[in-house]
């Protein structure tokens, strides 16, 4: 049950999504120009410093057009996290110009549509959960990646000794808010037991991911933070995904295919150190890959009540 105190209520009521990428870049350009003016004055030495500082002051007073022309190479940190804040192996070559508004989002939308029927593979790595609860790695296979209303969905979750296969019909409303009737087959390879549950299922991680990264209403609100980044050696586009409260969501899509490669949620458990990382792959739904979605009960396993 929600339990907001008045300070938290104030914070949430006044909270808005973060600044646009072009606003961040414009402010940075002004600061860079000011810093470049001072850096040149320092390099020129004491004899010329006074005049140089006047140049810097003139820039600060609003000579933005001239200032923008001054080249300044600065170490660029992630606007939301600071350098290395997400722990990503990302190099951020600062884009010379902001990406054209809307073009990247449109390309991502088109790419998302092309994998709607694919199997989405997600590797979820969690840390910083409350008292360590939930920490660890879970692998999901979900098909179809972006189901239509009424379509049959199958999700296989693998965590340690547990294999859980869920099947249900996609509800009509937002997957994040609707319970659905379905079945869950739970196999414990450590205890060598299995059970089957017919019940209301909570929305699964792949559904939430699908909402974050493959849904049109979400994609159109992505902010491009860096259109020329690299992630593990691949050219990627770095994005900020709108999210509520203290939650921060960053994503990286392949710069060539525009398909999601990774998403990171920061501060997901009201804990500044909490972090979830999702790595993605999209697999064509061949008979072999679809067979991998089935959690067959091995012979000799004991049935337990669901």
């Amino acid at each position: 049950m929600p339990t907001l105190d008045d300070l938290e209520l104030v914070r949430r009521a006044l909270d808005v999504p973060g600044p646009r990428a072009d606003v961040i870049a414009a402010g940075r350009d002004r600061l860079d120009a000011l810093a470049a003016g001072q850096a040149r004055a320092l390099a020129a030495g004491p004899a010329r410093r006074r005049r140089r500082l006047r140049v810097g002051a003139a820039l600060a007073c609003g000579a933005a057009g001239a200032a923008a022309a001054i080249a300044a190479t600065l170490v660029v940190a992630h606007p939301h996290t600071g350098t290395g804040g997400t722990g990503e192996a990302v190099t951020s070559a600062r884009p010379k110009q902001p990406a054209p508004a809307g073009s990247v989002q449109q390309a991502i939308l088109t790419a998302a549509g092309s994998v709607s029927g694919d199997i989405m593979q997600i590797t979820e790595t969690t840390s910083g959960g409350p008292d360590g609860v939930g920490d660890g790695v879970i692998r999901y296979l979900s098909w179809p990646a972006r189901p239509a209303f009424g379509q049959r969905v199958r999700v296989l979750s693998l965590r340690g000794a547990l294999r859980v296969e869920e099947t249900y019909a996609q509800p009509s409303q937002s997957a994040s808010t609707v319970m659905r009737m379905g079945t869950a087959l739970v196999i414990n390879t450590s205890a060598k037991t299995w059970s089957r549950v017919l019940d209301r299922l909570t929305p699964s991680t792949p559904e939430m991911i699908s909402l974050f990264l493959l849904d049109k209403s979400s994609i159109l609100k992505f902010q491009v933070l860096n259109a020329h980044a690299t992630l593990d050696g691949r050219a990627v586009i770095e994005l900020s995904v709108p999210a509520a409260g203290q939650l921060r969501v960053l994503a990286w899509v392949d710069a060539r295919t525009y398909l999601p490669l990774r998403m990171v949620k920061l501060h997901w458990a009201n804990n500044p150190a909490s972090r979830k990382q999702y790595d993605f792959a999209f697999l064509p739904p061949t008979p072999a890959s679809r067979a991998a979605l089935t959690a067959a009960v091995p012979p000799g396993y004991r049935h337990t009540p669901g």
């Binding site: 049950m1 929600p2 907001l4 300070l7 938290e8 209520l9 104030v10 914070r11 949430r12 009521a13 006044l14 909270d15 808005v16 999504p17 600044p19 606003v23 961040i24 414009a26 402010g27 940075r28 002004r30 600061l31 860079d32 000011l34 810093a35 470049a36 850096a39 320092l42 600060a60 190479t73 170490v75 660029v76 940190a77 992630h78 939301h80 996290t81 600071g82 350098t83 290395g84 804040g85 937002s174 994040s176 808010t177 319970m179 209301r200 909570t202 929305p203 939430m208 974050f212 209403s217 979400s218 995904v241 709108p242 999210a243 509520a244 409260g245 920061l266 501060h267 997901w268 500044p272």
Partner: protein
């Protein structure tokens, strides 16, 4: 998220370095611009924040030689500069609260609901529904009480940090915050939704 990130240089070290290498200040911009922008957007609205957030950093850059790390840290110092800017735009702040007080369902808030984890949704709804009454109550607070309340709630500063940001004693921060919270609770308490939603159906 805590700043600076683990293993990174401290804000104060960066600021000191920027006196010799001005470009080092860019790292502080990267760390804090989104936070300062959100603080300004919460008080003045996103449009005004777009115009003013960079001013905070330009002002801080020009004043960085006078920053004394012996008496405070960089983060509240930046919020203090931002709060001074808000004071110079008090009409914009009044207009923003008036707009919020008039507004019903906000698409920004609705988007937050749709994209947040399900456990957070009911809280978001509660905040969303309280928004108009809360904005009206904020508008009626004295400026100095509102500064303390919003530096605490939006800036997430401690008493000591608020005291440093506003250059007032910690005891003053405590009394102003207590007064502001009491008024806020009294004003919007009745508007708070009585029932919440348990989305897991428990």
């Amino acid at each position: 998220m805590t700043f600076p990130p683990e293993g990174a240089r401290s804000d104060e070290a960066l600021l000191a370095d920027s006196l010799r290498r001005p470009e080092a200040f860019g790292e502080l911009y990267s760390r804090y611009f989104p936070r300062v922008w959100r603080y300004l957007a919460g008080r003045l609205g996103p449009d005004v924040a777009d115009d003013l957030a960079a001013e905070v950093f330009l002002d801080a850059f020009r004043r960085r030689g006078r920053f004394d790390p012996a008496i405070g840290t960089v983060r509240p110092w930046l919020y203090g500069i931002a709060t001074n800017l808000v004071a110079r735009h008090h009409r914009a702040e009044a207009r923003w609260y008036a707009a919020l007080a008039r507004a019903g369902a906000d698409p920004v808030a609705a988007n937050g609901i749709a994209l947040s984890a399900e456990d957070e949704i009911a809280d978001r709804i509660a905040a969303w529904q309280a928004r108009p009454a809360l904005a009206a109550a904020l508008a009626r607070l004295p400026d100095r009480d509102r500064d303390v309340l919003l530096l605490t709630a939006l800036g997430e500063l401690s008493y000591a940090e608020v005291a440093f940001a506003l250059a007032v004693p910690e005891g003053t921060v405590g009394s102003r915050l207590h007064r502001a919270r009491r008024k806020i609770i009294a004003e919007f308490g009745q508007a708070r939704p009585a029932a919440h939603y348990d989305l897991r159906g428990n």
